[in-house]
Amino acid sequence: MEISMKINGAEVTHDVEPRTLLVHFVRENAGLRGTHWGCDTSNCGACVLWVDGTPTKSCTMLAASAAGHDITTVEGLEKDGKLDPIQQGFIECHGLQCGFCTPGMLMTGRWILDNNPKPSEEEIREGISGQLCRCTGYKNIVDSIHWAADHPAENEVSA
């Protein structure tokens, strides 16, 4: 079946099997490999991207269900060659090691700040609790999101 969706602002159309998972559509059909696959059971969150601005585990959503919707992936965070503060925060605070969970953490981190520009540690921890990281023990991920909260981009409205 033919499926169309907007990914990072660009219209993407492919003829795929109806059972195609969104994570595979994004990775294999759209060729955006920043979104990772890690567990099959919605536990790990390596596949988190945004569907209409909401963090979603793309390994348990059919591509067909996303047809006509707006998808944002990690590749969509950088604007005009400038990293989003959430990306810069992960660099500044050593919020990643192997980098495999990072795209999902970045998408959720950005979403947390979009909805709560000055989150507490507890709010950040709860916000990322549906995603696993095996390298960092989460401390520096929390710090990275805090860094981004403290350094909003010039075009963002700070709280």
Binding site: E17, T41, C44, Q87, L96, Q97, T102, S129, R134, Y138
Partner: protein, 815 residues
Amino acid sequence: MTAVQEVPISAGGNPIGFGSMKRVEDQRFVRGQGNYVDDVNLPGMLHSAILRSPWAHARIKSIDTSAALALPGVIAVLTGKDLEGIPRPSLLGDNFAWMPTLSYDTQAVLATDKVRFQGQEVAYVIAESRYIAKDAVELIDVDYEPLEPVMDAKRAMDPGAPVIRDDKGQTDNSITDVHGHKTWESGNAISTAEAIARAEADPNCVVVTQEVMYPRVHPAPMETCGSVAHLDKVTGQLTLYTTSQAPHAHRTVYAMVAGLPEQKIRVIAPDIGGGFGNKVGVYPGYVLSILGTIVTGKPVKWIEDRGENLMSTSFARDYHMTGKIAATKDGKILAVDVDVLADHGAFNGVAQPTNYPAGFFHIFSGSYDYPDAHCKVTPVYTNKAPGGVAYACSFRITEAVYVIERLVDCLAAELGMDPAELRLKNLLKPDQFPYTSPTGWVYDSGQYEKTMRVAMEIAGYDELRREQAEKRARGEYMGIGISFFTEGVGAGPRKDMDILGLGMADGIELRVHPTGKAVLRLSVMSQGQGHETTYAQIVAHELGIPPEDIDVVNGDTDQTPFGLGTYGSRSMPVSGAAAAIVSRKVKERARIVAAAALECSPDDLEWELGRWSVKGDKERGKTIQEIALLSHSSLELPEGVEGHLDATAVYNPPNLTYPYGAYICVVDVDPGTGVVKVRRFIAVDDCGTRVNPMLVDGQVHGGIADGIGMALMELIAFDTDGNNLGGSFMDYLLPTSMECPSFELGETVTPSPHHPIGAKGVGESATVGSPAAVVNAVMDALAPFGVRHADMPLTPSNVWRAIQGNPIRVDMAIE
């Protein structure tokens, strides 16, 4: 010896040497531009999937692949019988159905006669897409004759137990190592037994005996294992993109397994999404992708799914330990004896140095000063997945630290002594180093009491004890747990250590281009440790070249020199040393070139960071960048000097390095629900010189999370029918941001005396040291209930049952 001092900052804002520096590799990862194995797509590439056994122990009567083969899009289906028919011109058997393990055992690539664990590889499908390959797997019909499975190690020892390895002509489930040994001992059995007997007879002494199980767990990196194999039939070149922590060792093993000439094999480890030991072994899936490209002539990709990862590739621990600790009643430890039953699964696939079949477990005597220690390890086969050394265990030091640190706490409880005081009384003193342990290890350096006191100070130990007393009086259950660990890492000296005959020295190569920029080529392989950053810092420290002017290459066997890879915290102790040594070779070459340019003797020059200058006339000198260009110029060099600055080195470590640390964990336990909340975790590591302190802290953070996971929730359990009960992330629970506190770190720095920059390695320290701290804290909290020990994982139900006097038996299969 090198210590972190004032370090100049480069134009790029980075330390020209040691110090916290943002990572080079992050630029691609935060943009989603990492290149992991599943991101590798080659033209014409096929996909594949493995049919796995639903039974733990069964005879294969027949396999019908016709329906799978008939599915449109299926290219080939291979079974064990097919592999038996592919001749292999190799020293390791005449066909492809079996492959060697890293412990000189054999492992089925695809089962031929029997399946021996649930999840074992039975058939292999190659198809046009991943979805079709998975569909075809469902269409393969296998007729099994179920056999009685052997699901616990004690049962495996029974004379009447079913024999698992009848393929080897065995009549029992014992494991024999390459030296012909069925048990592995170290220390002095006689003196230890005598010391314990004396203590038992002495009214001024105590002997505490405790059974301690370190249950089976899995490293579960976020990225599963996988490979993309491509054989170019014209050139005979095999390229294998794969999740490998040890690309060079893997290349040699594939040459042995596949009978391919080694110069025709190129192993490329792209970015790796975490390893933790899971990606040390050579698994049937990798070998099958190689066979897949040989059979089809096209590139073949194999990517493990999460269930396959948890059920088949690698596992860790499964050590049944019984420890005895003897001490005087005023708390002086006299002797420790440990008896271990080691469950190795269906194939002895442990990755460890040949002469250490129980890994480095023999360092179990710990950080304490006492004369007599002995251990005996008895390995057995069971109907579980093979593996054994994984999950950042530093070759079984995790198990060793866990048993000694539990024993010390049990002793403290028996004596009614504070566990911190008991440790302080027995810790080795600085003037005892180098210290030869009762089992023969030579600890290089340490200031144990200092490190312990730093941890106690950060924790506010006395205040915590006061708080605990107040809470106990109110019926609240707070626990404080201590773990003091010593590791021996950086395997290792070639005379003692090899894997499959490959000595554990690491090669390195440093090229300095005419413009003074450099490329360092490593044999070790990052899985997130940040090698591209830290190794550039080592070269910067030695040569004064800014780190942003140094590229670090790892993971491609065609681009890097031979070495045994990254695991067991060995990169910094071995390759880190190699990086310093090769830089010093370049520095000496630069001295000769500078002397020629300055028309003086090399002996008249002195080095300051990044520059050779004439002694007493600092104005006359040449920077390393100027020298690099001169080395490529028409400058006349002394007779016998070749020019250029490039150098290579092979580092053969004279000894292991001995990082250590003091950890303190604070928990609150709800006795009504059994829920454990880790409130604080204090870690003071001494890993010698810290090349990049920010990255060292990151390594420690991750290891503490591992320890919290293993102590509180992670378990690969089996039922008596042989079913793996930890085969998905729904069942195999990993710590999230909610279970981990905000860790509190400290440091002491005692440089290794034999390492060129004094570094000791830190990658696995916290995974090794932290589980005991968490368990000790929970047991401390439960002391008012009379609980002295319960095995990991301390899940709410296990803690609740421990309070009722009936903790869960993780040493047995579940009825």
